[in-house]
Amino acid sequence: MKYFPLLWAGLWRRRGSTVLTLLSVIFAFALFGLLHGFSAALDGIIDAMSDTRLRTMSRVNITQPLPLAHRARMQTVPGVDEVSYYNFFAGYYQDRSNSVQVGAIDVASFNVVYPDIKIEPQYVDAMLHTRNGALVGEDLAAARGWKIGDRIPLGSAVWTRKDGTESWDFEIVGSYRSPSGKVPTSELWINYDYFDEARAAANGTVTLYFVKIHDSASAAAISERIDGLFANSTNETQTQSEKDWVRAQIAQIGDIGFFVNAIIAAVMFALLFVTGNTMMQSVRARIPELAVLKTYGFGDTAVMCLVLGESVLLCSVAAALGIGIAAVISPPIYREFGAGGLNLPLPVVAAGIGLAVVFAIVSAAVPALRAQRLSIVDALAGR
């Protein structure tokens, strides 16, 4: 610690160069935080998914609805605790381009299947007693400023009502949240019964089923049993654990990981050049000063550590600032991708700082060795 003022003074010896290096490293690490943070956030979503919950949907495609009658047969499969269901609503608010994620659910069974989502008992009760009631996710409520008691008129891009209109009115009677913070809460949930009775087409069908099972080890066997029930029917099913399903959804988008890593590699390579060069120049300019330090009795190793220390200080301060920027602007970007409410994962911060230290040492290695080997006489003589 007592060497800190010396490190600090060394860094500010060439003020302009230090500030510019600091800035380029800040932006590099902001980018690292954004990109690595994004792929880590996706992994986080997968991890948060349960493997004691299965999803059953049409084998052909998720756009193909399944009859609600499947539920009773699925409940007979041994090892199944409860079966709940969900129907996409394709909602929008005021304008078609302003989409709102809305799902029609059965609150009572949903609450059993999703213990990791918290709905206060009085809200469950209110949903059961208000046909056009709706539960708003905490993130959605925050983003739109909706609160309990509000009446929300929504349109649906897909569903027309039996009376021929497209507008649906919902009354927010409660909210739900994710105590672990890992499940996005950016949807509005409405009563399936009310929705199904009012819609003009596809009555008595659902988009997908949620199946709660006892034991994650039997997930594959139970999935097979369920799909076996409907094999060779017009409504064949495909059942997967929630974790596998989400992983498959993310894989469908394309190879994100490759692009992210390629960009990070390009940025980091360029960064190594910038910092390495700055440190090299800084040492070159200060050779007489380092020689003076050695004259005062600083050992070779101590001088080498001073040079390394400057680099580590510069890089870690810059990395901290850069990742700070990423942490501030990440949540709104995640929201654009439909993952509102997620924050920059903490391990990314740790990885960033760790990476910064490694970078600092690698890029300062050559100048540090040069400083270590410096001969006092030659250096002071300007040779």
Binding site: G16, S17, L20, T21, L23, S24, V25, F27, A28, A30, L31, L34, L35, S58, R59, V60, N61, I62, T63, Q64, A90, R96, S97, A157, V158, E166, T234, N235, E236, Q238, A248, Q249, A251, Q252, I253, G254, D255, A262, I263, A266, V267, F269, A270, L271, F273, V274, N277, T278, M280, Q281, I329, I333, E336, F337
Partner: protein, 393 residues
Amino acid sequence: MSAFRQISSVTAMNLRSMPQRIGSSSVIVVGIAGVVAVMLSIFALTRSLSDAVLATGSPDRAIVLRAGATGEFSSTLLVDAVATIKDAPGIARGADGKPAATADFVAAVNLFRKEDGARAGLAVRGVDPAIMAVRPELEIVAGRSFTPGLRELIVGRSALEEFKDVGVGDSVALRDGRWTVVGVFESGRDANESSLMTDAATLLSAYQRTAVNSVTVRLASPNAFEEFKTALTTNPTLSVSVERETEFYRRASKDANQIFGIVGIAVGIFMGLGAVFAALNTMYSAVSVRTREIATLRAIGFGAAGVVVSVLVEALLLALIGAAIGAAISWLLFNGNTVTLGDSTGSMVFDMQVTPALLLLGVLLACSVGFIGGLLPAVRAARLPVATALRAV
């Protein structure tokens, strides 16, 4: 000595001394190469995607959706409406005298990609027999077309290249059982080529549906659009929206590019700023190395202009070298790569192209970074107080 000769001789002298600063110069080159490689790759991806989507539309076709629908999946048209639409004026006639119009029903099926084995959606488009009159670019290149009434499909070449088990003779499980692939079609690698096609009526009955998603017509001429649109939108029995097909796909490509646009802009801003600061750093140090030289030149009567230009030219030259390296990396890695993007409702197969226009964009980007990075150091070089500078060294 004329100002021009002064500038050119100082610049030439500076360029000759550049190899001495190769270490710090490489910072600007590597920084800019990184920015250009990454930005060109992202732009090539978005550009190629929207080109493929845009290629699907033709100005002499119009698409009819339910009023207010944003896309085919959110639109339904009942049989009566379809008949009325097909009778509207302005539609071209096929060889058989029937209107060149097709009422499409779009479903989707889960298949496996060849590349990574991932399950992905592929569109299954039910079309009318008049499809060839509506889309003359459609060409059967292997096997034959589907027979209405039978469970037969034809597969687009793009879909065939990227998905497993969709070759001629293979069967695909749809809602009511297995359908046989009987032919392969090409349509200029547009969005349709990433789909399966079959007879609309046969597909509708298999899915127990009665409504289609859209009606696409070929117009008698591109100018017939207004006549066609007016006839439909003023018809009180219809509630539809009519769009020229080019416009419809322009909107679709915008949606498809929105996500990549956000990523591209974010990455571009951060990498660009990082590169600007790296360039400033390099050029400041280049100027400081040249302090004695610049001061000497000024002392013997050279003007500030020559010094400024020499620094800017150096920065721009380094930026151009960086741009060339970055563009080469992006071109080697990505030009001609086949990319598949999609979700559960359909996929889009297209080829990435690093076009000359994009390369030019890369050069412009590099030059702006180089110019900004060179400007401030150039000004400092010009303002160098001669006496102090000479004494300092």
